[in-house]
Point group: D2
Chain length 349, copies 4
């Protein structure tokens, strides 16, 4: 069975690099085009990235000799799908151009996330939202994934939301520097320091989970309805966002019920045995000081959401800690899982 | 006017070192005795500390030639007051022995903190609690200061509590490694990492502010009555605990009312112009990404509590960020300020 | 073909943990015994290590249920070989006891390293030194590997030493914290800091390469004869020792000759295709700012020595930078490669 | 006595910020003009720097209300001297324009450093080089200071060079991130990492000490004549360059002679009691693990050069470790000391 030809848009950026790494020898997809800015166009990916590749394994061999083009559908003919790690300043327009040209877009950018006809897809959480793709009038469809900080949090909320209902959620994040891309955070700002502010992050954290946990009505996604309060912080950690969560439920679950909900949680990625599907989707660690980025980051190849420290909250009901790999589960890996879901469910034609 | 002779108990530890630094050339106090374990006793402080002094300024000259003794009142005769940075494993017993011997104890240890006859004193917050000293039956009195994490938080809550009443508080801390003393946190646990657990810390954070904000009834301190929920985390920062705070009030203040309450806050340390009193007690920074440990740690010589990011909380009422210097404002500096208050109010005889 | 039964001595320490990880599903060896101190003896490895396992992948399943014993040959019967990551304070005696009992010792400890009848074995460099094992009078033989800092350096020197002769070598190391084991370096000493001293390290760095590069005469190893000067430093890096090297040669090679010597270097591990043999043994990176721990540490699963920045030295002849993974190539991985060499050359009976 | 009016060129950059901090309440100089790029011109320094000031004490009050101009002599009339922290891309031209306009330049930039008529001045080392100012044909004179990395090294070499003669020097640096300015080093490149390359740094380190240690002949500076080999590395330290040094001498000094040469070293800044002159100029620490950035950085307000670990070198003669504060002693503080020297020696008219 031949693989689907795909392009990577924003191929030189942090998310683009992860796409290229994760797509190495992928069973469903074959990368045929790499797209970046005018500065890089016309050169091979290997030449351009010589001193810009920031992942601790080499550039995959397949990518080195691909000649970069600009992200323009007319220059990536043959590709049926494009993974987009484009900067938000151009993602909106370029992604729409691809969709118009009949090429599906799997985007990690924020531009189309809040469109009620665009799934904000976390494959285990809301595969049913793919239903709204019919509402998109373009031949190519746009699917987005959520912000890296709340991806893991939403996964932990999903089984609790379904069983117990949620009244409110407080989040406190400690986010890795890789979340800001490259060059991103200057070392003088973060070495031995904490920065209690990340531009636009709290706004996303307070709304995106509500869309992921929403339902489809008349071809549009309607948000879940409960308040979220987020405190977002940058810490000197390379990869891995750690989030402290306190939740108030509609029906009060016991500790065992919460743990059981997480333990038994799985979704279409697991039932379809998608290549990037983690197993388990959620891992609860019993140690009193876990999860930690250094020890738990690579659980399930960076796709498992790791949880720990479930304990009663004196104000809301339960509190716990979530860790997820921000550039894998929170970005490129999540997008790839979304694409695998589309492939397996025959959305790619 | 002659200075009061004082001893430092636990002089070789992290808090002891800070005491020794802050007491250099102090106008009220003269360090005459340094006390540590049997291993160090009989040697000069300078010899013992050659490779153990961890503050980035040299050991004060006065301390270098003092011969260390064990922490025993019979060996520190002449001292009218003792600063205790003793380990909790022995602090309870030793401090009681000093009190029995008629020597006042200014303690940073946790052992006596919850005794209703012992002030958990933060000089700006609850100087009135000194009233309970009369209830202590020993000739020497014991005064404690609160845990380093919640010291700054309590200072920010005090003027809000007095004016608006508090219904609930959520805290999320990112605590510096120096809070664990030396050798303390192994570098393999924290370099480039976050540890979402500090033993016993959340328990202290959820109760100590209530005692500080309490009132005196019949010679005992009665706690304030509202729930606190704390998530405590260790981060790779050297000095400076950053705490994200969300508060629900009884009477809803406006943003201006909160800012005004902080701006106008001062206490006896300021009115008595104590040597270690910061001015202002609370500094609110307008920048959107402050406070930060690296930039704001030394505000007011590490004694000012720095606040920022006041904004509405979608679940409680207001949220903000607090930074305080954990080994100065949160430990030795706070204790010294307490001692200065006692001195100036003639509690030291 | 049945696997050789092996014990791991010092199984709870940093090197022991690496042994256990690397021996998971090993084709030649089967771990049957795990040995540690009295405190741990009698408990399962999984229970003891719950909060002490510091490698970012879980404890291998095979190890979790092994009941720990003390490192005593009478308690590890059945094992034909023991990997020793024992602390130097007891390694000398315990390892001798094992050798006397007829159990071969593959040791990462320093105690027997300087014995002229004990190979200081780096499998690519001096496999021929195994010849001296006949001089050992015990039935069990002792093989050691060199210090983590100079392991990679010696590998880079070997092909140059053979072809061009060496007159002198200057080394400047920047060593990772994991080299000091756990709890090892206190975070207060190294976070955002550099410590220009590591006890005993320069002494080892100035002599061990000479033994590795030596020759066998009359059943004993005679050291190579040239001076080495070492400056050893601790830096806030988790894994990976980076060493700057300047070398003066007897016969002056061109740049191409040096690069060619490295490129063509391989030894018995490669020709015998040992499971842990890296390929290539040495990788030269052309980028001007490499090698770096973060990007190059895992080259060849942490077994390849990565080199860069070859350039003329105004005082000696050539200078360059070496990176090797200190707990894999510099410790447990090197020891395992040594054991694989013994196995394949039928030294294990 | 009225103070000399001065301008700071490049006032918004890292070095410029240090100038502004160090010039607060200076007895000789009064800052009247702050110069930066077109983007900042016309706004007050306080407004422009609100989120760009990176020193951990507030912007001095005097600077906040100064309206920034571009660095043009016609816009800074009244200033008799200008401190330049300009970027090398424009420093050459702008500094020459100032000199032509009769305004003296104290520059931290590299552009004019190698001109034989321009002193590369380290006030304790080569005050006698001021003699060449007469050879400069402009009315305003240009004085530069050396690169931050070798400033401290050169100070330690000076007394040894004078007494014993030097045959060769090997340097190995571990340099702080602040040396690259702001935003400078991306955190993804340096957090938990080491980068064994800094563009152009080794070239400067191998030549600038030779100019500083040179002599004046016919109005020009003639370089000292011995080879230097430098390995320059970036490490995750905020402030403070640590350099390992090995030296070969013409006449072999004893350990005591080296220590004595350092202990007795002082220069014109000390004899003239200049405000920024450190006392001592060089401090030798006896502890086996010093100097360290965290503990020794602020010795002498960051102006003292701290040395330790003097020991025999098996190849050259002696080896040791030097620490200096790269943005104070290695940049703005050194430049200020140079200006104070000019002032006191009546070079400023």
């Amino acid at each position: 069975m031949s693989r689907v030809k795909v392009a990577v848009l924003g191929a030189t950026g942090s998310v683009g690099q992860r796409f290229i790494q994760l797509l190495d020898n992928h069973p469903y997809f074959e990368v045929t085009h790499l797209c970046a800015s005018e500065n890089s166009a016309g050169k091979t990916y290997g030449d351009v990235m010589k001193s810009r590749w920031k992942i601790s394994s080499d550039i995959p061999a397949y990518a080195k000799n691909i000649v970069i083009t600009t992200p323009d559908p007319s220059k990536t003919s043959g590709a049926a799908l494009a993974f987009s790690g484009l900067d938000a300043s151009i993602a909106g327009e370029v992604e729409s151009a691809y969709a118009n040209a009949g090429i599906h877009i799997i985007s990690n950018s924020k531009n189309h996330r809040m469109d009620p006809k665009v799934p904000l897809l976390s494959a285990e959480v809301n595969a049913s939202h793919l239903e709204v793709l019919d509402s998109q009038t373009t031949k190519g469809k746009i699917i987005t994934n959520s912000n890296c900080t709340i991806m893991g949090v939403t996964i932990t909320l999903k089984p609790l939301f379904d069983r117990f209902g949620i009244e409110s959620v407080m989040l406190f994040s400690m986010q890795a520097i890789s979340g800001a891309g490259y060059p991103g955070v200057p070392s003088m700002d973060i070495l031995g320091n904490v920065v209690p502010h990340i531009g636009g992050e709290e706004e996303k954290a307070e709304i995106e989970p509500l869309k992921c946990l929403g339902r489809v009505e008349n071809g549009k996604i309607v948000h879940a309805d409960f308040p979220i309060s987020a405190h977002c912080n940058r810490v000197p950690v390379f990869d891995g966002h750690t989030v402290c969560v306190s939740v108030k439920f509609k029906q009060k679950p016991s500790r065992e019920e919460v743990l059981s909900a997480w333990k038994n949680f799985s979704g279409e990625p697991q039932s379809l045995a998608l290549p990037s599907a983690p197993n388990p989707a959620i891992l609860y660690r019993e140690e009193e000081d876990r999860p930690q980025p250094r020890l738990d980051l690579n659980t399930g190849n960076g796709m498992t959401t790791v949880v720990g420290r479930l304990r009663p909250d004196p104000i809301l009901d339960w509190k716990y800690v979530v860790l997820s790999h921000n550039t894998i589960r929170g970005a490129a890996g999540a997008a790839l899982l979304n694409a695998e879901l589309l492939y397996k469910k025959n959305f790619l034609g």
